[in-house]
Symmetry: C2
Subunit: 326 residues, 2 copies
């Protein structure tokens, strides 16, 4: 099934969305918000799936034409956001870009990020200064149900409720400083933007394989196609990321687990899902980087596609890089 959150209050109002994204129906009688549905997932999921079937069959009541401009992030705020770095090609290029040895690690790389606000798919995104090195990072993510501490892979796989897509904005000036402290990223990682539609893994059909999203993530910077990168090359799947996250803590329902920047070993053909990775490729090929970070007024668009199909699997993101409001 496909779900979304209409703009309403702090947590949005839960909608069930038709397979072709053309129509939607309010799901308030099942759960008022996506967080409420996830908190009660074993009961809510079958009820939402039933409404989804009715919507697709044309038998649901209260159906309306979906305007994606009315949608907020699926979880406008979440209790936990844990972002992995699961694409080995991205990690290898970033190590070269920052002239660092590859990070030695015996388990998946993951940090805890800001989760009290996920910006909507068409919200302007405020940044304090262009001098901070404003970059985007196109990612896929899983949303979990409640997962107990020490969950094994089977239990973690069962705990993966939904799949989403997001842009994990990054301020490279601070990223370079913060990685050296060992404390992880704080200033470097302001609020993420989220694509509007979340889907159960079965909606992805053959594109969901080994707990990875095989769709192609298309990233545009203004009119330029910056990357068309296949998502299937994660070094470990979302099930393993969930196992890692839950090793010493329980995960609350609605925990968002990110893939890290989508990246491919065929990067010369596919392009990249962040500026910094392209800069690394330029440095390797041409000694110095040509591509600049973002400026105020630029637009970044992201959408994921199945082969030979231009329906965006998670809806469309279109975000303006903006000055702060005050």
């Amino acid at each position: 099934m496909k779900l979304a959150s209409k703009r309403q209050g702090r947590d949005g109002a839960l909608l069930v969305v038709s397979r072709d994204l053309a129509n939607a129906v309010a799901a308030a009688q099942i759960a008022p918000t996506l967080q409420a549905a996830l908190d009660d997932w074993p009961r809510a999921a079958p009820a939402l799936a039933g409404l989804y079937e009715e919507l697709n069959a044309g038998t649901a009541r209260g159906v309306f034409a979906l305007d994606q401009a009315d949608l907020d992030a699926p979880l406008p705020r979440a209790w936990q956001w844990l972002d992995g770095s699961a694409y080995p090609q991205h990690a290898a290029l970033m190590a070269k870009a920052f002239n660092r040895p590859p990070i030695e690690h015996e388990f998946p790389l993951m940090y805890q990020g800001m989760s009290h606000r996920f910006l909507g798919p068409r919200d302007p995104v405020p940044f304090m200064s262009e001098a901070d090195g404003i970059d985007f990072e196109g990612e896929f993510a899983g949303i979990t149900g409640a997962v107990p501490m020490g969950a094994d892979r089977q239990r973690a796989a069962n705990g993966s409720a939904l799949v989403m897509q997001l842009n994990d904005w990054c301020l490279r000036r601070f990223a370079a400083l913060e990685v050296r402290t060992g404390f992880g990223w704080l200033l470097a990682k302001p609020a993420c933007s989220a694509a509007p539609i979340v889907v159960t893994p079965d909606e992805l059909g053959p594109l969901w394989r080994d707990h990875r999203v095989g769709a192609t993530l298309e990233v545009r910077r203004g009119e330029e196609v910056f990357g068309r990168v296949p998502g299937g090359e994660m070094g470990c799947g979302f099930d393993e990321l969930v196992v890692h996250a839950a090793r010493t803590r329980e995960l609350c329902a609605g925990t968002i687990i990110g893939s890290g920047t989508v990246s491919s070993a065929r990067y010369a053909e596919t392009g990249s899902c962040c500026i910094s990775e392209r800069q690394a490729i330029e440095m390797i090929a041409e000694v110095s980087a040509r591509t600049s970070y973002l400026h105020y007024g630029e637009r970044v668009r992201m959408a994921a596609f199945a082969p030979q199909d231009r329906t965006p699997l998670f809806g469309a993101m279109d975000n303006l890089v903006a000055r702060p409001a005050n």
Copy 2:
């Protein structure tokens, strides 16, 4: 004023607590939970302060004798927990303990931690394995109202609503591995335990100075006094920690900002607020560390005091190190 949350549902029920911690009164008519009060702080704070005055004057209605055993963490879950490392003496000893050069940093050290569950002041604390190096960290923390991105020191100071005390449990085996990745702590930092009472800074009187908590944090491991450490030696105050946290993001109301492990330059007399720091002191004095990490069944108690007064300023914490439930 002094506030607490009675165990009730996921977010507790807001209480106003008398100055001597003997009595309390429900604050539901002002705000049902502490988070709700913080979300509406400019309106709720004066109303709560009024009820606090009535409670202390003996004129409030519905007063009952406070049993601290009924209390949950003040915020049983929070949208954001950002922990600093603001005691230079602690940082210096930890660098020695792990044989690392001191961390170079041009701004306060801070990471984002798990906030979807703060354990209650007397809850057992489950850990997966004794082999993970179970340690406690006694800290003070500030709770903010809503703080805009880019707030200056004055605005950050005004945004500091409440002061609390907590135990930031740490798994040293993972801390040592995770600090090397640069991604910060995830496995090393499971849920914190919280002291039951939060107070406005004015309640601390002369112990609140330069945005630091001058109280003495007393930490007991079983029957042993592990540390009686004065809290005033932070390298920067909570106002500066809030400015740092808000440099590239807005802070939601109810953001908890931690001091890091309380530590003193007179550590030989005061003792320590975590095992790892004592191990460092032993290594410096005696080459190798004698003190072990925690075992299942051990109890850790923490409370903060003003000079010549045995009323715990934030109530008493008493936590059992426990095996996981399943």
